[in-house]
Symmetry: C2
Subunit: 293 residues, 2 copies
């Protein structure tokens, strides 16, 4: 019967059911391998349960995030996974009010919703402790726009570790803020970073760290002898960098799978579902850029 070219019309199904059997995922930066790995995890889990995936990138711009959420709402996706640019999204709230579950990814959500995150405070502390243990005393913290929650917590973790070591964060840590967490921005900020006279640089993610690394080498700075460098995420390219990059690993694919699984549970068994906020543990991967073993 259907062997000759019949293809289900899911628009009709979505209209009838009030929602489609697709999920939406909005990430901060599709060009960042951390998020593509996360997306893979989501896609795996969604596909296994018969759901499609609409993948969007906000490029860290709140307006783009809102536009994508609107698009997903118009498409009547069954649920949304959101790696948020800023704290409160009007449209995310609206989605939830409409009955569309929204799971916060890679950042702690409020209670009353599901979220999947990594202990960013701990991650920041891991990086800083490692640097302090290896004798560094002036850390430049290179981060992005302040709205992004997880980077703020990494900064707190750094301060915490500095304090724990009996030092004063205000003399040890200098913050350099980039317009975006991208390689080019990191590369462009190298002069600003060096102006803080650091003996160590911690970047809010690996993409930035690789841009910074290129700038440091171009400026004739020896990594790690003059300046130690630590990234975040442990993307694949960290290991093949000019100086292999020490990084704080996050279980990207697991994050994605877990988030999708929570979302699908909420979607398919709303009454049995209890909101959860699992927090994963980051792990320091020491390579040459920090002068470690």
């Amino acid at each position: 019967m259907s062997e000759l070219g019949f293809v289900r019309n899911s628009a009709a199904g979505a209209l009838r059911a009030g929602r489609s059997s697709a999920l939406g995922l909005v990430v901060l930066d599709i060009g960042n391998p951390f998020f593509t790995e996360l997306a893979r995890g989501v896609e795996e889990e969604a596909a296994a349960r018969g759901y499609g995936l609409l993948l969007c990138s906000s490029d860290e711009e709140p307006d783009r995030q809102e536009a994508h959420l609107r698009f997903l709402e118009e498409m009547r996706v069954g649920g949304v996974l959101l790696s948020p640019v800023a704290g409160d999204s009007r449209r995310a709230k609206q989605l939830r009010e409409r009955g569309t579950p929204v799971v916060t990814v890679d950042a702690t959500g409020r209670r009353g919703t599901c979220s999947v995150s990594v202990d960013d405070r701990r991650g920041g502390a891991l990086a800083a402790t490692h640097l302090l243990d290896t004798g560094r005393r002036r850390i430049a913290w290179v981060t992005g726009p302040s709205g992004i929650r997880q980077t703020a917590e990494r900064a707190e973790g750094i301060d915490e570790a500095v304090t724990t070591a009996g030092l004063n964060p205000s003399t040890v840590v200098r913050t350099v803020t980039l317009p975006a967490l991208q390689g080019a921005a990191g590369h462009a900020a190298v002069a600003d970073i060096l102006a803080t006279r650091p003996d160590a640089v911690v970047c809010a993610n690996d993409v930035v760290a690789l841009g910074v690394l290129r700038g440091l080498l171009e400026a004739g700075v020896d990594v790690p002898d003059d300046v130690a460098l630590v990234g975040y995420d442990d993307i694949e390219f960290a290991a093949t960098a000019a100086v292999p990059l020490t990084s704080v690993r996050q279980p990207a694919r697991d994050l994605g799978r877990t988030a999708a699984s929570l979302l699908l549970e909420e979607l398919t068994e709303p009454e049995a579902h209890r909101h959860r906020q699992p927090v994963f543990t980051p792990e320091l991967v020491v390579r040459r850029s920090s002068g470690g073993t």
Copy 2:
């Protein structure tokens, strides 16, 4: 009226119109920055014309490609951009028969359809000529599954350049075939590559080249003194590699924008539309890995 939470139901619109105002893009590997850059180009162009984008990755698996195409067909997307895994896709044909335009991306399509590609033969020749010019005489060509058209043409370009230089491809070029064009596969194949006793390695893309680079360095091979290395795509991470990577640059974002623009033209002005197959020109970017300047 609509200020209080009204959101258009695009499922209803799609049902009514017979198709949705979204485009589908199926790439070979979403983890490859070349394709994310291409996707950005597509997204820019689509968004500018009020179209959404459904982004899928086949991971170079024909079955996944077909599944994604089926999903897009079920969603009744207005058109599809496809970076094909294998030559003929039953479902792509079916889509066209149904009246959904399909534009082939990053590979030459057949006449009678639109496609956007880069002169891969020329790209292969650029890489090989550069290596021959700098004295290399045994080239290992590291490629992926044979179904992928563009890599086959790059191989032909290499042979062509070797012949043009008055040498015999069968003595100069050795082919190593990977199960997938991914970093891990390249890394795992280093022993096989070295077994061909090459003085130069050309990889079908940069992701593979970076994996190979890591393996070569781990094996104590000096790049470029013992072995020159050339990648393909010129992704951002090529410049920050352990040994900055010589690569054949492809204009990824332009490819995406052009492809989307052709698709949208076919979609919105079917009678005025004439099929075109623009071919972009690749460019050799020489860095240290090939021992060039």
